[in-house]
């Protein structure tokens, strides 16, 4: 059964939002959904770039009150 999880990487410079996301993706199963929260301005572009390159799926990507909410489904 697939799970949904929030990865709260707001206000972090190291290891940073994308590195946090990769860590959590490695711990997840195919089909799981992760929602990354990030205050890093670059996340809106950086995260989809990696997700698309590695072959996972972006479900949604929006900025709400200064926080990026990026939902990803683990595809492989």
């Amino acid at each position: 059964m697939s799970e949904s999880k929030i990865v709260d990487a707001r206000d972090t410079f190291c290891p940073g939002p994308l590195m946090e996301l990769i860590t959590h993706m490695k711990q997840s199963n195919v089909g799981d959904t992760l929602e990354l929260l990030s205050t890093d301005e670059g996340s809106g572009a950086d995260v989809p770039e990696w997700v698309n390159k590695v072959g996972h799926e972006i479900i949604s990507n929006e900025k709400i009150d200064g926080v990026w909410h990026i939902k990803i489904r683990k595809a492989k």
Partner: protein, 377 residues
Amino acid sequence: MRILVVGGGTGGTIVANNLARRLSGEIRAGKVRITMLSASDKHMYQPGLLYVAFGQMMPDELYRDQASLLESSIDFHVDPVEQFQLDKKQVKTKSGKVHEYDILVIATGSRIVPEQIPGLTEGAETFYTEASAVKMFKHLREFEGGKIAVVVGVPHKCPIAPVELIFSLHDFFKARGIRDKVKIKYHYPIGRIHTIEQVAKWAKPHFDRMGVEYETLFNVKEVDVENKVVKSEEDTETSYDLLIAIPPHRGMEVIERNSLGQGGWIPTDRYKLTMNGHDNVYVLGDTTNLPVSKTGSAAHFEAEVIAENIASIVKIGTPVRDYDGKVYCFIEAGHDKATYAMFNYLNPPDLKEPNKPMHWFKMSYNKMYWTSVRGLL
């Protein structure tokens, strides 16, 4: 009040010593008891491993007897915890002994798991253990030229290490007079050469100056040891003559076995440093699931907050301050210069150009660590 510290690394040792000093009166009066349980009677200065890998420190310089680092009032046992029974406020150790507590501090650290990546254990050098650092040095010393590939697993301890490694490789082969025969290629998991944007911007012109090639968005998938090729999750590959890996890490097995946190990382409040749902359980260092660098520096600053708060709980019944995410990392930029990155949750680092005094400060700190971990610095 029974305070139990599980783990005798940087974080646990600073918490215990700091508390023993703050609560010396209460301990003498028999109102407070501090116990530490550790898996080892030795304490290792882990940042020294990078120096061992380049022949600049000997392994025996990395160790002290753990008991010699602790305040005499701390009840220290080499007897690792096997069961955490948080509902009963007790732990059970390998020897079968049960320790009850009122406040628990978990500082069990992390471990490398190169076996998670096929071929990495057999095919790559690394420097995250004493044996592997010595082996890597011998390999570097015998290396007469060719292509070195550096790859980085996720997550990993000491996020500055990959960058320091590159500077050290450049200076090492330059000193041997064969830098022109060695091609260095650096691979990094995200879309720039370091996770901290300011470090990436600072390091990039230095990588260019040193002639270091780099590939970003490269997450190691497997190593073809026979053909000397490392492959990425992103479907790219690099051939090599010598592969050096920053191995991926996990939390300790005892944390996973006791279902305290996925991957061995315990869910922790980023300000209070308490385990989520357990106000009497503090977590620090590599053991937390916080989006904070897994470094001795983070453990040190977290330890000071935890010790101050536990002492104030004993004295006035309430904690007094929050952890602000502070981390201070030296960055060795080769064998004779260094800089540093200091930041917290809200303020990014402001990197200065590397200089010799900062390198000598770092070399001094390698000795001063033993004062620091005693809680005196």
